[in-house]
Amino acid sequence: MSTEPPSVMLSSRAAARARRGAALRRFARSYAAHRSGMAGLVILGLFALIALLAPVLFPADMLDITKTVQNETLEPPSGEFWLGTDEGGRSILAVLAWAARASLTVGVAASAISMVLGTLVGIGSGHYRGLLGSLLQRLTDWFLVIPFIPLVVVLAAVLGQRGLGTIVLVLGVTSWPGTARLVRAQTLSVEGRPYLERAKALGGSDWHQMVRHVLPNVMPLVLANTTLTVALVILSETTLAFLGLGDPYLDSWGTMLDKANGAGAASTGAWWYLLPPGICVILVVLAFTLIGRALESVLDPRLGRD
């Protein structure tokens, strides 16, 4: 074993894997140097844990209003209900934990849609010269100026049925233009590099060029950008739900705030109903923002986000 140099034993594929592994380790090390990015990761991990464990910690019964009628409604925090109760007599702590599932699901799922759309449109508009390219670019520019929240609100209102899927779809198909613009710029810079010129000269197909050469180069920045999109989407979901456009049968932090507002929590001083959902939204959004900024600054030190 020790007599043979390792390079002889490694196939080229394994060598590529080793190289990627080393790059990944280097990336992890520079990410770990970002204190705020690590803080974001810890906060997010905590919330992910809560979301996963919600059914174990708080049996679904605790959310069923028909089974919580005997509880005092809008009761301030007590030994039994650490964060008090809502207008249906449910434990706010339990609702909060279950709501984490909805908020995180919507955030991640909608951002995934947005990521795919944004990457497709971005690479397409950067790669294809001519009509298709400029059309895609125009489309991106147009969607960029359409005010986001009004668009989301109108779309959700027009689509009518308020399921989790509808909300994911609405947020996914509206939040891609920022990603597309970023990917387009990155694609243009990648396409200017010599090895892609070579791929072109050798007659590589458009698909081959885009998938094998452009995509791997834009992917890291896309992931960083998507992390920031998750923050935006979670905030927007909260807004939608607060305006009564959420899934009425699903508890999310936004629906909690909507109900709290409907129950007059602000004017009756029911702070225990208002504070927790808002703080959860802030923490999760902050976590995604911190992670996204740290990723960006590791990938592109010129951004100066430290």
């Binding site: 125009r138 520019d141 147009w142 960029l144 100026v145 359409i146 005010p147 986001f148 929240i149 009004p150 668009l151 989301v152 609100v153 109108v154 779309l155 209102a157 027009v158 689509l159 009518g160 923050a231 905030l235 909260t238 807004t239 607060f242 305006l243 009564g244 456009l245 705030l257 709290a260 507002n261 929590a265 602000a266 004017s267 009756t268 001083g269 702070w271 208002l274 504070l275 959902p277 808002g278 939204v281 802030i282 923490l283 959004v285 902050l286 923002t289 911190l290 951004l303 100066g304 986000r305 430290d306």
Partner: protein, 344 residues
């Protein structure tokens, strides 16, 4: 000092360097043209967006009581026409000047017109607050990047950036106008002016101000965060520029280098970005006005949603979108006027 330079005579050429004049006019013309393109797209989009509506749209009007039989018949005919015909009708009157609100039975533009000024007051105040403070904070943080002010302000900024503005509004109501706690009912909540007061009188201005303080603070706090982050990033971008080294080498004081050289350069991208973000402020106005029952276009949007009034919604969406387009054009023109590289 009569220094004769051997080079002077040989090299003075008379041609004016750079491009000719009229660069600005051309730029503005092009910008208006592309704005027009965007507007056309938005009109199309606005039409088809509302065709996604399931169900019989005419049925929604039956519930309205104070609508005339003629209007109802006209609306029914319009809504049941084939899509292409509807589209032509829409193109002839994209602003839906004849549109009747399904909720109130009034022309939608009367409703919109009556609600515009509170929103203008609210957005004006909060934008002013947010830019004045946010930009200063951003400049200071970026200039001493990594310093203690930067660390604290960026932390606080990111926190505000993550805050839903309506939640901040609810907390403000809870603290300052719920009648409980240490500051009972410092500010009124609900409405934009006390009833029976003339808005243009002295008392009217005071009353509007009282009603606007809390919602404006809620909006401003969040957008202040956004502006300061943008300005900080722009300043940081300038920090490494060589012209700043030249400015320092000249013996200028640090704050002069910052004020006279760094800030004007950093402001150009900031202006563009701030205006690109104006759509988000409008979004914020919807929820904040709802929380404070502040009777502007945002609250009207919320009412249109709850009342399922799509004609009104369409009109509001058009108002919001067109405002954003116009703001973006204005921002680009402002940057072009300020930036000699575009202007000349």
């Amino acid at each position: 000092m009569a220094v004769t330079s051997p080079v002077a005579t040989e090299l003075s050429d008379d041609s004016t360097p750079g491009g000719g004049s009229g660069g600005l006019g051309r730029f503005i013309g092009l910008r208006l043209l592309s704005g027009l393109g965007t507007l056309l797209f938005v009109l199309l989009f606005n039409f088809f967006l509302f065709r996604l509506l399931p169900g019989d749209p005419a049925a929604r009007y039956r519930a309205v009581k104070n609508i005339s039989a003629q209007d109802l018949a006209r609306i029914r005919d319009e809504l049941n026409a084939p899509v292409m015909e509807q589209f032509w009708a829409y193109l002839r009157d994209p602003l839906a000047l004849q549109g009747i609100s399904a909720w109130k039975g009034q022309p939608v533009w009367d409703l919109v017109g009556g609600r515009a000024w509170p929103t203008l007051v609210l957005l004006g105040t909060s934008t002013l607050l947010a830019t004045l403070i946010g930009i200063r904070v951003g400049i200071r943080a970026g200039w001493r990047r990594g310093g203690s002010f930067d660390k604290v302000s960026t932390g606080v900024t990111l926190l505000f950036y993550a805050t839903p503005e309506f939640w901040l509004g609810l907390l403000l109501i809870l603290t300052f106008s719920s009648g409980i706690g240490p500051f009972p009912s410092l500010f009124p909540s609900g409405g934009v002016i006390d009833s029976g007061i003339e808005p243009l009188s002295m008392a009217g201005v005071v009353s509007v101000a009282e009603h606007t303080v809390l919602p404006a603070v809620a909006l401003a706090a969040v957008y202040l965060a956004e502006y300061s982050l943008i300005m900080r990033a722009s300043i940081v971008d300038e920090l490494s520029q060589e012209y700043l080294t030249t400015a320092r080498a000249k013996g200028l004081m640090d704050h002069v280098v910052r004020r006279r050289h760094a800030v004007p350069n950093a402001s150009l991208p900031t202006i563009t970005l701030i205006f690109l973000n104006i759509g988000f402020i409008i979004g914020g106005a919807i929820t904040v006005e709802t929380v404070f029952s502040y009777p502007g276009l945002g609250l009207l949007t919320f009412e249109a949603i709850t009342e399922q009034d799509f004609v009104l919604m369409q009109a509001l969406f058009l108002v919001f979108t067109v405002s954003v387009i116009v703001c973006n054009i204005l921002a680009d023109v402002a940057v072009a006027v300020l930036d000699p590289r575009i202007r000349t």
